[in-house]
Every structure is written in structure tokens, then in C-alpha cells.
């Protein structure tokens, strides 16, 4: 029975391949979860003030111990760690969605001007609001950054109604970034030195001074958006195989594209609103995760990207706050310094493997 043998051989090969693939997924997720737990523990236990592991456990479990140490762990370290985890994941996922939308691996919130839109609004606020009213709340800045990101996105969406070519749309996004930067520079012309210094500080991103109110707000916005994105896994999977294929599978491509860029923008806008622009994560992490998993399947890549983004940003944040303590490095400095060489290395290795 040669036909049956051949079918059995194919099925066996498919099973082996499937097993190999699943094992790889399990291994990647296991590594990510292990790294996540390790970096959370390291972050909780590391800081300017030495708190013993036993005390940290007592503080975490019972909120008991030296009141200052309780404040340090619960009021400073934990909100910061969770914000780095939540926002890092959101940024990486945002990058993945934009790359899917534009079918281009370099698409990210930075490249498309979404961060520039946020910076423009924050500049307007810093320079005119403080000059006029003398003070402002951090929530006002958060709302401004969020609004700025969404305004930039709205422009990209408007252009997308006329421009169907993804490369051209990407270029349009870059141009919107330039326009936002030009407006920011124009506003800065009228700024005091203190405004310029503070705008520069903000535009480098930081997780310093995160509060529980920020954590809950970010958790709700990013949690809901991530869940909705995950629900889009199948249409994304179909879209990855081509627009025509997605249409044949019943995907309303026009609406799907709007949702994709909307979710991506909400994610990156939330990150920029709370922590300022953070460069590179949106490009590097999805790339590294897809390389590690050996697939671009959204069902696997979405959770892995989120987890990978969390781990990457938490590691970078630990370096940012401890490398030159008590002076803190800007988070974008660390993400770029550590992220860019990794991607270059991976690209070279992949090209060598192809040969």
C-alpha cells in the first residue's frame, strides 16, 4: 500500500514538525515568563536603599516593616515596575500592529510621527499653559500627549483614504512626523530656557515617579485594547497572507485597517502619555520575537510580543535607574543603546544563515 505509506509518512512528518514548532513556542514562552519573573524580583529588590529579601517579602505580603521601606516598595518600586511591564508590552504590541498594517518591519510609533504629535501637544501645553496659568497637573500633560498621538493618527488615517500604497502611506506618516516636529520647533522659538530643558527631558521618556493611579489607568486602557487586538488574531493572520486572501476569508479590509491603526495608536498614545516617547522598542521587540518563535502567527506572536516588550523595557529601566545612580539615565537612551546592536546582530546572523 504505497499511497497509505506516503500519507502516513506525510502525517508523521507533519506531526513531528508540529511538535517541533509547539515545543519551540513553549520554550520561548517559558524563557519569557522566567525572564519576566526574574526581572520583576530583581527590580523589587534593587534600588538606592538596601532592603533585605526577607524584608521585601514581609512588605509585599503583609505591608509590614519599617514605614519608609514600605513606602519605597509599595509607593515607588512596585508602581514603576508594573508601569514598565504594562507600557513596555503595549509599545511592542503597537509596533507589531503597525508593521502588520504597513507590511513594513520599520514601521513604529516613532517613525510614523505618533510620538511627534504627542511631543507637539506637550510643547504647546508646557510653553503656553504654564506661562498663562503658572502650574499644571500631570494629568493635563497625560491628556495632552494622548490627544497629540491620536491627532497624528487621525492625519495618517485621513491620508490612508486616498493613498492605498502602503509604502507611500508610510512616507506620508513620516512627513506628518516632520510637520509635527516643525510646529514643535516653531513653538520652542518662543519658549523659555526652562521650557526647552523640560521638553527635552520629557521627550527622552522615563518611568520615574509612577503612581498607582497611573498604573490602574494604563492597565484598563491597555488591557482592553490588548484584549481587543487579540480578538483580531484571525483577521490579522489572514491579512498577513495578502489583502485579497483576507477579503476572500470574509474580512472587511477597510474596517480592519482602521481598527488595526486605531488600536496601535491607543497603545502607543498611552505609553507616550504616561512615560514620554520611548524609542526603538516598537521595532526591535516584534522583530526579535518573530525570530525567536520562527513564525508571525498573531495568536502566538501577540502575547509573546507583549511579554517580550515587558521584559525588555523592565531590563532597560533597571539599567536606567541603577547604572549611574542616583543620576537616572533616560529610558530611550538605554532602549536604543541595548536594542539596536541586538537587532543588527540578529540581521547579520539571519543573512549568514540564508547563505
Amino acid at each position: 500500500m504505497p499511497k497509505k505509506d506516503a500519507a502516513a509518512a506525510v502525517e508523521g512528518s507533519y506531526r513531528a514538525e508540529n511538535f517541533k514548532r509547539r515545543s519551540r513556542y513553549v520554550l520561548v514562552f517559558a524563557i519569557l515568563i522566567f525572564a519576566f519573573i526574574t526581572i520583576v524580583v530583581l527590580n523589587i529588590n534593587t534600588g538606592s536603599v538596601h532592603i533585605s529579601v526577607a524584608d521585601v517579602f514581609r512588605i509585599l505580603l503583609m505591608k509590614a516593616g519599617d514605614p519608609d521601606n514600605v513606602s519605597i516598595v509599595w509607593g515607588i518600586r512596585l508602581p514603576r515596575i508594573w508601569m514598565a511591564a504594562i507600557l513596555g508590552g503595549a509599545l511592542a504590541l503597537s509596533g507589531f500592529l503597525l508593521q502588520t498594517f504597513f507590511e513594513n518591519p520599520i514601521a513604529g510609533p516613532f517613525v510614523l510621527g505618533i510620538s511627534s504629535g504627542a511631543k507637539m501637544f506637550v510643547a504647546i501645553l508646557m510653553i503656553f499653559f504654564i506661562a498663562r496659568f503658572g502650574f499644571m497637573s500631570s494629568w493635563v500633560m497625560i491628556i495632552a500627549a494622548f490627544g497629540g498621538s491620536l491627532v497624528a493618527t487621525a492625519f495618517i488615517l485621513m491620508v490612508s483614504r486616498s493613498v492605498k500604497n502602503m509604502s507611500a502611506l508610510l512616507v506620508a506618516g513620516v512627513m506628518i512626523g516632520y510637520i509635527c516636529n516643525a510646529i514643535t520647533d516653531f513653538i520652542v522659538t518662543f519658549a523659555d530656557d526652562s521650557d526647552i530643558v523640560n521638553l527635552h527631558n520629557w521627550s527622552q521618556g522615563s518611568f520615574n515617579g509612577m503612581k498607582w493611579g497611573n498604573v490602574w489607568m494604563a492597565l484598563v486602557v491597555i488591557g482592553v485594547t490588548t484584549f481587543l487586538t487579540f480578538m483580531l488574531s484571525k483577521p490579522i493572520s489572514a491579512f498577513q497572507l495578502g489583502e485579497a486572501y483576507a477579503q476572500s476569508m470574509g474580512v472587511n479590509v477597510k474596517r480592519f485597517r482602521i481598527l488595526l491603526i486605531l488600536f496601535s495608536s491607543i497603545l502607543s498614545a498611552t505609553v507616550t502619555a504616561f512615560a514620554g516617547p520611548i524609542s526603538f522598542v516598537g521595532i526591535a521587540v516584534p522583530f526579535l520575537i518573530k525570530q525567536a518563535l520562527g513564525t508571525a502567527r498573531p495568536l502566538v506572536v501577540i502575547p509573546a510580543t507583549f511579554l517580550g516588550g515587558s521584559v525588555f523595557v523592565m531590563v532597560c529601566d533597571l539599567i536606567a535607574r541603577m547604572a549611574l545612580a542616583p543620576t537616572e539615565l533616560k529610558i530611550s537612551t538605554v532602549t536604543s543603546i541595548f536594542g539596536a546592536p541586538i537587532v543588527i546582530f540578529m540581521l547579520i546572523r539571519r543573512e549568514k544563515a540564508k547563505r
Binding site: F133, F135, N208, G209
Partner: protein, 428 residues
């Protein structure tokens, strides 16, 4: 939601509208802002602005300006009612218009700083009264663990003999030009706890910080102030730099004296500097003109507004600031950026040019200045060897800032340059 958050919330729409209006009407908005700022200013600012903006003010007029301001300020004082406390008296202020201090029974004091807020100083062993408004920040004495990020206040703490209470600073060793904090940082009695925008919260909380003193730069990083407050650290925002008179700025020593229960010492420090400044009343108007400037990294020339403290000091010393009516509409900044062309046409005939080395790197020689722009070689002051500079120490020596007036006078009258505190003649 506290008062500030509420106000900020309702003002967001107004700010957005204002921003839009700016692009539509440009100068009109800027003028409106300038007008509203002027309206909010005290009598002292108006007096000084007009003094610096017209003919070179006589020394007496400049000093009188601050006295008039003091009278106006005294008339406007309305002590806040605090349930459970009995109002006693207000601190008499001579020149400062950016704060008021009210005294209540049992040693309670209330500091009121416009924009920054109200602060109730609670004496050691006492508690804040029940039902105290949430808008009033409580500062509990004793204050022996202070995080000081407002550099100009360090000089006051030094002069008051309270430097041991400042255990954390927002400026590291390399950023200090005055000796006291450098020595304290070297000895370890003071630690660098991160700059104002990125403080090391762990160190601040771990050291049991009683008070954070910030400059108005913190207003651009509201999340830092909110975080410190959420950790139980009261934040006092110093607005000393908004005083437009020499004595007004020095008088802030009284605020820090009240914080540290050293009112008498503060009074003496102020009186000493006042006598230095008042001694200038005898100076004759020399008729000499002075340009005070620096060159920044984009090669623009940074000069002071005509109603700033520096033109006021030059006037007190018997000189005249070369820019008669220079303003910076819509901005709180004391400085204005000019193109070289604009600076050149006005300052070329100045009798003296003084380089501001407090922020930019000081000049090593006159040639160093010319290398920044060859046009300087045409300046009258350069040709006549009248190039001076003020060093970084001045900016941080707030408690002795009055000596810059005597330095200017020494310069204008050809006195002994070696007696100057902050000014130095730039070698050819």
C-alpha cells in the same frame, strides 16, 4: 481632587483655545499675556520696569521703588483664617513681594507664596489643626532632613548656619560654585539625591525627608511634585528668582529663617545686605552704559530684559543698562535672545560689556570673546579694554547678591578690580 488639579482641569480648554488663538492672532495674544503678567505683578515690578525703561534711573529712585513696594505689600496683607489657630501678626517685609508670612499662636506660621501655595509650619511637638484646608501644605518641624533642589536657597541656609539640615541636594558637586555645599558633599553630610526632574525617591524617603525645596522648574515636571507629596514629602516652591529688586531677592532669607526658626539671624543678614545696597544711594550717576550678555550654543546673544534685576543693579551702581525698553512678551523669562545684528547695533557703543559666565562657560580672554564673533572687535568697550564678566558663584550666592552692585560701581568708577566679589576684568 485638589485645588490645583481642579483648576488645571478647567483651564485645559482655555489653554487649548489660547494656543489656537496664538496662531491666529500671534502678537495680540502675546500682548494680552504680557498685560496680564503686568497686572499680576506687584507695585515693585511696575516701578522698576518704568525706572529701567525710561531715563537711566537714579540710585535713590531705584531704592525708593522697593520701599514703595513694601508699603503697598503691607497694605494688601490679609491674614488667612485657620480654624483652631489665632492670628497674631504678619512678618514685615521690606522689598520682597513673592511671599508673605503670618504668625499664629503657639509658634504656628503660615507661608503664602503666589502660585506655589500656602504652607503651614507646625512647631516641633505640635500637630496641624483639625479640619485644615487640603490646599494648605503642612510642614512639620523640626526640619533636619531637607532635599534642596532650588540652588539659590543653599546660600541662605549657609548664611543662617543651617547647612547641616540640608542633607540632600539636587545638584552634584560639579554643579556648585560656592564652597559650603561642595565641602558638605565631600564630607558626606550632604548627598546628591538626583536632579529636580529625576529625584532619587528611594533616597529621599529612605532618609526620612522632611521637606523638598524646589525652584519653579518643578512646575514643568508636575509629576515629580505629585510623587513627592504622595510619599509624604511636602514640596515648597521657591520663587525668589521672580523678585525684580536686589533687596527683594535677598529678603527671601527671612522665609528660610522662619522655616528654621531663625528669624533674628535672617533679619540681621538682610539688614547687612540692605546697608550695602543703601550705601549706593551716595553713588553719583556716572552716565556710563553697560551691556550684560552671553553667547549661547546657537550663537544668539542672550541679554536681560530691561526690568530685570541686573539692569536694576547697574542702575543702583550709577550706570545705565544699554537696552532701554527690552521686553519678552508672553514669557516669564528674565532673558531675551537677540540676533548678533540686533545686539551689535545697540551695544557697539556701550562703555562696558559684561559677559554673563553664570550659565555659559566664562571667557578666558578678550580674544576668546572675539573668536565667538569677529564683530566684537568693533565694540567700543573692547577697544577701550572695558570687558568684564560675572562668574558662576554669583548665581548661587543669593544671600550676598547685593555685592554685585558694589562690584558694578567699582567697574564704573575705575576702582580696584581685586576688591570685587563676583565681577572680574577679562584680560586682553
Amino acid at each position: 481632587m485638589n485645588r490645583k488639579t481642579y483648576k488645571a482641569g478647567i483651564c485645559l480648554g482655555a489653554a487649548a483655545l489660547a494656543a489656537v488663538m496664538t496662531f491666529e492672532s500671534g502678537t495680540a495674544w502675546a500682548t494680552a499675556t504680557a498685560e496680564s503678567s503686568a497686572a499680576a505683578s506687584s507695585a515693585a515690578q511696575v516701578t522698576q520696569a518704568s525706572a529701567a525703561g525710561s531715563e537711566p534711573a537714579s540710585t535713590a529712585a531705584a531704592v525708593e521703588g522697593s520701599e514703595e513696594a513694601a508699603e503697598t505689600s503691607a497694605q494688601e496683607i490679609t491674614p488667612p483664617k485657620i480654624a483652631g489657630l489665632t492670628y497674631d501678626h504678619a512678618m514685615e517685609l521690606d522689598s520682597a513681594n513673592q511671599f508673605d508670612i503670618f504668625y499664629y499662636n503657639d509658634g504656628y506660621k503660615l507661608i503664602d507664596i503666589p502660585v506655589s501655595g500656602e504652607y503651614l509650619i507646625v512647631p516641633d511637638g505640635k500637630q496641624a489643626p483639625d479640619g485644615l484646608s487640603e490646599d494648605i501644605t503642612v510642614i512639620q518641624q523640626p526640619l533636619d532632613q531637607i532635599y534642596l533642589a532650588a540652588t539659590n536657597a543653599m546660600s541662605f541656609y549657609d548664611k543662617l548656619g543651617c547647612l547641616d539640615s540640608v542633607t540632600m541636594t539636587g545638584t552634584d558637586e560639579s554643579g556648585w560654585s560656592i564652597d559650603a555645599p561642595v565641602k558638605a558633599l565631600e564630607s558626606g553630610s550632604m548627598k546628591f539625591a538626583g536632579k529636580y526632574s529625576e529625584p532619587d525617591y528611594e533616597m529621599i524617603v529612605g532618609n526620612g525627608c522632611d521637606l523638598a525645596i524646589e525652584s519653579t522648574m518643578i512646575l514643568h515636571a508636575p509629576e515629580v511634585q505629585e510623587m513627592l507629596e504622595s510619599l509624604g514629602v511636602p514640596v515648597l516652591i521657591d520663587r525668589c528668582s521672580y523678585e525684580t529688586t536686589v533687596l527683594g531677592r535677598i529678603e527671601w532669607v527671612k522665609l528660610y529663617g522662619a522655616l528654621m526658626n531663625k528669624e533674628d539671624e535672617a533679619e540681621k543678614i538682610y539688614d547687612d545686605q540692605k546697608s550695602v545696597v543703601n550705601s549706593m544711594q551716595d553713588f553719583q550717576n556716572t552716565g556710563k552704559t553697560v551691556a550684560f550678555f552671553s553667547i549661547n550654543s546657537d550663537r544668539s546673544v542672550v541679554v536681560r530684559k530691561s526690568d530685570d534685576i541686573i539692569p536694576n543693579m547697574i542702575s543702583l551702581a550709577g550706570g545705565a543698562y544699554i537696552f532701554k525698553d527690552l521686553k519678552n512678551p508672553g514669557s516669564n523669562s528674565a532673558s531675551v535672545n537677540l540676533s548678533m545684528e540686533e545686539f551689535y547695533k545697540t551695544a557697539i557703543n556701550a562703555d562696558y560689556i559684561v559677559y554673563n559666565g553664570t550659565i555659559e562657560t566664562p571667557l578666558s580672554s578678550v580674544q576668546d570673546l572675539i573668536s565667538k564673533d569677529n564683530l566684537f572687535a568693533d565694540f567700543k568697550a573692547v577697544k577701550e579694554g572695558n570687558v568684564w564678566q560675572v562668574d558662576k558663584k554669583w548665581y548661587q550666592s543669593t544671600a550676598e547678591v547685593g555685592y554685585l552692585v558694589t562690584d558694578f560701581n567699582t567697574m564704573l568708577t575705575g576702582g580696584d578690580a581685586s576688591t570685587c566679589h563676583f565681577l572680574q576684568k577679562v584680560e586682553s
